[in-house]
Subunit: 243 residues, 2 copies
Amino acid sequence: MRDFFDLLASHASVRKFLPQPIPDEHVTSAVTAAQMASTSSHVQAYSILRITDSETRARLVELTGGQPYVEQSGAFFVVCADERRHRLLFDREGSTHERNLETYLVAVIDASLFAQNLALAFESMAYGICFIGGLRNDLDTVDELLELPEHVMPLYGLCVGVPEERSEPKPRLPLDAVLFDDRYPSDEAMLRAMDTYDADMQQYYASRGVPGRSWSKGILRKFHEARRTYLHRYYAGKGGRLS
Amino acid sequence: MRDFFDLLASHASVRKFLPQPIPDEHVTSAVTAAQMASTSSHVQAYSILRITDSETRARLVELTGGQPYVEQSGAFFVVCADERRHRLLFDREGSTHERNLETYLVAVIDASLFAQNLALAFESMAYGICFIGGLRNDLDTVDELLELPEHVMPLYGLCVGVPEERSEPKPRLPLDAVLFDDRYPSDEAMLRAMDTYDADMQQYYASRGVPGRSWSKGILRKFHEARRTYLHRYYAGKGGRLS
């Protein structure tokens, strides 16, 4: 299925959308198809909210750090790790729902396998997508705004729409920095592979008018300061167990 | 791209494989294509090990709870959340690498978006796949066996191979239990949607010779006892920060 490899290869996040909504039937067929993703022991520990209210979407632009496409895309979704469905079954039985880092991880992984299927389903219909990690900037306020019940844990947003502008796909790490046979490589080999990539990415950025930018500088800047340090408190407060 | 929806719709985990290895060029083209998955700020915080050593694969059968396809599939991979590459850059600079639940989450999500792309890439080439959450049964021993360095955090395995037997796709939760507009539904509505699904799944299992089995009973059994309670200690010991 060569077409499918082309679909994967052509992915680049879209951040400019035409003001066209997404027909309901596209949303329902994409979500239904995406639900066929693998799920740990069939627990299906995820949910997705489509935000249709325009005031809420405007507020979410602010809460995600001023990303206008959160409002302007054809549809905006919030992807959640969801342990609530299971909890409701336990509550009805009067039985104990045991959760810990394992069940939290299962929910995050289930949600993300589903979300990648969903992103591809929309892309296969010629829509553009962009995941919004900025949703985690202020989950307390997002939570209040969306009135999320306990055990429903928002992870990230997803913008979907008709692209006004498409970017070229961005080069990824070389294969020898990501795929290994049997053993993780030596530090020297890994640093070499990253340096090769860094040189390529500097050229890539320079050719796009951003000379001096590199991948490694971005990593060093990004992880130099602790970000979103409230997350453990937030998820634990939602009834997630991270221990 | 109707074909792509067929690809998603036809997914069912494969657990019986023909003894045929996967050509290297299929592995490299699938991994390369899968790397085009979205990644938070382009950090690409994942790695994948292909286990080629037959003794190691035999040992992994035991460690994952006796799943023979871990040895018998054409290829077996270990998908890892990877903060090590970033760490090496920080160490070289003599600078501080700040990690917390946010960076751990980013790595788990990045790895899972990538892994779902990878699963689909193999399925699009007519291979069958099965994720192996059982890898988390005993990560201390897996870690020692694979000599994983600090900051490389195994999440799950992935079997890929030529199917000897394919199962029919298993029905998923109804759309109204998973996709919501603006607000999460009431407990009553959610329980109703789960009950409908449960009735369907009971029929599904009964028609496959397992009368009395249901989805909700499976959930109640699975989460009644705490499992893999050592995970926090293990990931924290790998230098992951979960706070």
